[in-house]
């Protein structure tokens, strides 16, 4: 972390090479974050680029309290949220109209899942990318980035109840998508 602090200080001082070092250090893990918030790799790289530009422009506001990676991650998530909001007006119809047909799968989120053969992280993340934009945002924010429904509701300008119901639907959809793709090697999904 000492070398991290050195790089951050040099970035604050405007040293160009330090920006490059910081990017090399964090570009991959941050692309991982952007990837799961995006539909595809291109969008993820756009968010990563925009996020890093913000990081470099606002690095002086990082006061050293808290883990730097956490600060960085929050900027990427915020950038992804802004990206989502900006594209909302021109998004395609994506609201899922299939109802739960009288079967509620919420309780299944507490069930164990058994995976017989290893499935790559890439393949699992590709399933998250298949979620409709709204579901994907909420699933990521709540489950993978540990935000509360109140925080999600504030960030996405929706109600807490909507956040909860969307999360529930996203889980249901993920189960469906996993079953379709990996039903043979993953058990107890539905």
């Amino acid at each position: 972390m000492v070398s991290n602090n050195r790089i951050i200080e040099e970035c604050k001082a405007g040293k160009q090479s330090a920006f490059g070092e910081l990017y090399k250090l964090y570009a991959s893990p941050m692309l991982g974050v952007c990837f799961r918030y995006s539909k595809n790799r291109n969008d993820a790289e756009d968010i990563l680029q925009e996020g890093f530009i913000k990081v470099f422009q606002k690095i002086n506001t990082y006061n050293g309290t808290g883990v730097f990676e956490g600060w960085l991650r929050r900027i990427m998530v915020n950038t992804a949220i802004n990206h989502y909001k900006a594209n909302l007006k021109y998004a395609y119809q994506e609201e899922i109209t299939d109802r739960n047909n009288g079967v509620d799968f919420i309780n299944k989120s507490k069930d164990k899942i058994f995976v017989e053969e290893p499935v790559s992280k890439n393949q699992i993340m590709a399933i998250v990318q298949k979620l409709p934009d709204g579901y994907r945002m909420i699933f990521n924010m709540y489950v993978l980035d540990g935000m509360t429904h109140k925080e999600i509701a504030d960030d996405l300008s929706i109600s807490v109840n909507t956040s909860k119901s969307q999360l529930s639907k996203s889980r249901r959809m993920l189960r469906k998508l996993i079953t379709e793709k990996y039903g043979a090697i993953m058990h107890n999904i539905i």
């Binding site: 991982g32 422009q57 992280k121």
Partner: protein
């Protein structure tokens, strides 16, 4: 076999340590964004301006190069005198060739008095043999005997002599040979004359909207043009169809599950250990009426009547193929719009509250600036085909900014195919 506590754990596990490698373009974009702060938008315009300037520079350089090449040949050959002895010639004809412009020769014929060695002296470029090999036997210089000399004195040349002068033109200036007998005066007049052409074309291009999905556009056009030497001006009328993703927003309500609770159905107390109570529960889902919205983006179609006005310059060419650069303005008027009806598919549990059309409104009149390269292939003397990579940029917003719609000036890149007839 790997075991996950629940579905969340499966994805948390996949997300931790998921570190794909970004492509090089990301860092390039960051460098531009950080070290040229605030310039990225301007950069787009600068980039296009530079591209247009580069295109212009290539055009002007090519023009200079080909003209310089011609001038050099002509300059080198201007003073070369070849003496040819012709047996039956009793007079000497000295034909002086002066260059007025790069393309046009002024020919004057001076009839001299008798000489002893019967020599005809002409000023022609280099050796005639070289020209023969470039052209063919039809274009040999033939000096006429006495009878024709009288005609020469009247400033009229026979076809053979005119064609001989065509050697210079064809070898250096890529002009077409003359195929009938005309006087020098007529010949020069013809060379200077304007000629006209007409044609039809179709264009397929991609419209790059900064605010929404890019779409193809198609144009059919009829044109009329006037050529003066290497310059041409062209006007036309065309029909253009543009597409754009519209936005309908459906606001609806539905009863959705907002969570669950465990309802105690019964319980049992262990008689041996009264503190140990076993509860039997069922999970009950809680529903509530929640506002939703969904978006639909059907394709909107717009038809325009176009009037293009262009000027062009022929940069390079030979008998078959020519390359030109052109620029101009395309005026277009919106003549019709095809707007699909919003279609909301609802289930019994959903109640539609309202439908909003968030598609920006198009303005009636547009102006586009166009820059293009034109490659022409001549099939016959009159008919040619053209292929034209074309770039256009809207000079005004295609949306009505007066009512609060965004100021959007898209650009297009495409290919135009045309067939032309020269009169």
């Amino acid at each position: 076999m790997k075991e996950y506590k629940n579905i969340d754990e499966l994805f948390k596990d996949a997300a931790s340590g998921f570190e794909p490698q970004p492509s090089a373009k990301v860092w390039a974009g960051i460098e531009e964004g950080v070290f040229n702060t605030g310039k990225s938008k301007r950069m787009t315009y600068v980039k296009w301006t530079l591209a247009a300037m580069l295109l212009l520079l290539i055009g002007v350089s090519s023009m200079w190069y080909f003209n310089a090449d011609n001038n050099q040949h002509i300059a080198e050959n201007e003073d070369i005198i070849i003496e040819t002895t012709i047996d039956n010639t009793k007079t000497n004809n000295e034909i002086e060739t002066n260059i007025l412009e790069t393309e046009i020769f002024e020919v004057s014929i001076v009839q001299e008095s008798d000489t002893e060695d019967n020599v005809a002296t002409e000023i022609i470029p280099e050796s005639i043999e070289t020209k023969e090999s470039i052209i063919n036997d039809d274009y040999l210089l033939i000096v006429k005997s006495d009878e024709e000399s009288e005609m020469l004195a009247d400033d009229a040349l026979t076809i053979e002599q005119i064609d001989a002068r065509s050697i210079y033109e064809i070898a250096y200036l890529n002009a077409e040979p003359i195929d009938k007998q005309i006087t020098v005066e007529e010949y020069l007049k013809k060379r200077r004359k304007l000629h006209t052409y007409t044609g039809v074309g179709i264009k397929a291009a991609m419209v790059y909207y900064p605010n929404t999905e890019d779409q193809f556009t198609y144009t059919a056009e009829a044109n009329f043009g006037i050529v003066l030497n290497k310059f041409y001006i062209e006007a036309g009328v065309g029909y253009q169809q543009m597409k754009e993703r519209g936005v309908y927003k459906f606001n609806y309500k539905s009863n959705d599950s907002i969570g669950f609770y465990n309802k105690v159905v019964s319980f049992e107390i262990d008689p041996l250990n009264p503190d140990n109570i076993t509860y039997k529960t069922t999970e009950t889902t809680v529903y509530d009426s929640i506002n939703h919205y969904s978006l639909q983006s059907p394709l909107f179609k717009y038809s325009y009547l176009n009037v293009p006005l262009k000027v062009g310059y022929k940069v390079w060419g030979n008998n078959k193929l020519t390359m030109g650069l052109e620029t101009g303005i395309i005026f277009s008027k919106l003549i019709s719009s095809e707007i699909p009806e919003p279609s909301f598919t609802s289930s019994n549990e959903q109640t539609l509250v309202s439908i909003e059309d968030n598609t920006p409104t198009r303005v009636d009149m547009n102006m586009q600036m166009m820059v293009a390269m034109r490659f022409n292939y001549k099939f016959t003397k009159a008919v040619s085909l053209s292929l034209q990579p074309e770039f256009t940029k809207y000079l005004n917003s295609i949306y009505n900014t007066d009512i609060g719609d965004p100021n959007i000036k898209p650009y297009t890149m495409g290919l135009r195919f045309g067939i032309y007839y020269d009169f």
